[in-house]
Every structure is written in C-alpha cells, then in structure tokens.
C-alpha cells in the first residue's frame, strides 16, 4: 500500500513537472477558463441529477413520472459529465502532485466512487421496476435512500472541490 502510494506520488510529481503541465499552470488564462468551465458544468451534470433526486423525494416535478424526468435529463447529463471529467482531468494534470497529496481531493475522489456505487445500485435494483412506482407515494424507500445519498454526497463533492483550492 505504501509502495503504491509512493509510486503514484512519483508519477504525479513527474507529470506536474513535464514541460506541458508547467506551460498549463503558467498560462494566464488556463485556470480561469478550465476551472470556470469545470464549475459551470455543474449546471448540466450534477444539477440535473439533483433534480432527479428532488423528484424521487417528492420535492418537485410530482406531476411527471420518474422515467420521463430521467429520459429528459440524460441526453444532457451525459455530455455534461463528460465535460466535467475532461476539465477535471486537465486541472489534475496541471498540478498532479499538489492535488494528489491534497486531503480534500482524496475525500472528493472517495465520494465520487461511492456515488458511482450508488448510481449502479439505482440502475440495477430500482430502475428495472421504475414503471411500477411512477407516482410520488409509490417511490420505494430504497430509491428514496439512493436520492438522499446522492444529494448529500454531491454536496460534499462540491464542497471538497471548493475547499481543496485553499490547500493547494
């Protein structure tokens, strides 16, 4: 485990000190543009998932069946998350070593992993029977738990993203 940690750290150190990563960091517009795009992508990725969570919890769009909300947001959420990951990877590469050793970054990655598991649970356990519980009162408790976890963990991800900048 320690060996793995040191190997990753060394790799991150090497990435951060490549000529192109240095050029990224030193370009005046790199951070405002890429970080701006990363943050504003929230509105076409995480934000859309939050709307689905609100629907599952009966906090909005009650008149619309859950499948329709999913159907309508996914064509935008997928490119939105792609944009999010691409800009995130760029930001990581530009300062790989500082980011890798950042404790908020680690919490953020752990949360993203758990959110992935949460999404997989929804997809396999609840999505197949979606048509049976389209009405607000019928949303199974488990699906509501998935929504609460999603809301809470995404908030932690956003907060960690913001907090890590203060430790870089």
């Amino acid at each position: 485990m320690l060996l793995l940690d040191i190997s990753i750290l060394l790799a991150c150190h090497a990435i951060q000190h490549t000529t192109w990563a240095t050029a990224f960091r030193q370009a005046d517009l790199f951070f405002p543009l890429v970080e701006g795009a990363h943050i504003l992508s929230l509105s076409v990725s995480v934000g859309l998932i939050l709307m689905l969570d609100f629907r599952l919890l009966g906090l909005g769009f009650q008149s619309e069946p859950v499948w329709r909300i999913m159907d309508q947001i996914m064509p935008w959420a997928i490119p939105g998350f792609t944009m999010m990951f691409l800009t995130g990877i760029l930001l990581f590469l530009a300062q790989a070593e500082s980011v890798y050793t950042n404790s908020y970054f680690r919490v953020k990655m752990l949360m993203l992993l758990l959110l992935g598991v949460n999404a997989v649970v929804f997809q396999f356990k609840y999505y197949p029977s979606l048509a049976e519980w389209d009405k607000v009162e019928a949303v199974p408790t488990g699906a509501r738990v998935v929504a609460v976890v999603s809301l809470a963990f995404w908030m932690v991800v956003i907060a960690c993203g913001r907090l890590m900048a203060y430790e870089l």
């Binding site: 405002p32 929230l42 709307m51 769009f61 619309e64 309508q72 947001i73 907060a159 913001r162 907090l163």
Partner: protein
C-alpha cells in the same frame, strides 16, 4: 471572519450550492424554451417547479456571497472582475424577474417565435457571464 481558516471556504461552498441550483434551473428552462431539451415536459410544469429552485439558489448564492464580500469589501470593490460580476448580476436579476418571467408565463401563442429564442439566449448569456466573471475575480483581478 478574515482570520478564521475555515469560515470563507465553507461559505464559498454554500455559494457553489446556490450557483448549482440557480444555473441548473436556468439551463433547464432555457433549453426547454429553445426546444433543445426536456421537450416532453410541458413548459408550465417546468416553470412552476424550476422557478422555485432558481429563486432558492439565487437567494443562497447572494446571501453567501454577501458574507464572502463582507470581511474584505475594499479589496473586492477594487477588483474589476467583481465590479463586472455585480453589474451583470443586476441586469440578469432584473431581466429574469421582469421580461423573462412574463415570457415564460405566457401561452406559447402569445409571443412571436423570435422572442422564444432571443429571451432564453439572453438569459443564458447573462447568467453564465455572471459565473465567468465570478471565476475571474480570483485570477484576473
């Protein structure tokens, strides 16, 4: 607050929660008006639900933003990006709660198609400009 290590970063996180709610609502409504997304959900239904989240997001962003500004007003007032952000924000809020609200609330037949295109484009441009200018505060001064 200036001297606390955690106060500003935590308030900044709430600022981002507000921005996420607000911008997502703006994106959803405008994409629907432009006819490029969420077409199966009637505009009235979207407007009714999303408007509440937009207002809640705006209130959260403005309140938290005020507390970020408060400990350091002179520095922010001297920052060109900040002044730009506040100016566009004023226009965006005014636009959103007057012209925009009227167009969203109207029956689709009442307004000519070009207003259905122009109004959402103006709204998207204004709100995303506020966001970009906000990001520039820290980097461009």
């Amino acid at each position: 607050m200036r001297n606390s290590k955690h106060a500003i970063p935590i308030i900044q996180s709430f600022h981002l929660f507000g921005i996420t709610l607000l911008l997502t609502s703006v994106v959803i409504l405008n994409f629907r008006m432009l006819g490029i997304g969420l077409r199966q959900i009637p505009l009235e239904v979207l407007a009714k639900h999303v408007w509440r989240w937009a207002t809640a997001g705006l209130l959260l962003a403005v309140t938290s933003g005020f507390f970020v500004f408060l400990p350091d007003p002179a520095r922010y007032a001297a920052n060109k990006s900040f002044v730009t952000k506040m100016s566009i924000l004023a226009v965006a809020v005014l636009f959103q709660y007057t012209i925009y609200r009227k167009v969203v609330g109207a029956e689709s037949s009442v307004f000519e198609p070009h207003r259905r295109i122009l109004v959402p484009l103006v709204s998207l441009t204004l709100w995303f400009s506020v966001g970009w200018a906000g990001r520039a505060i820290a980097f461009l001064g």
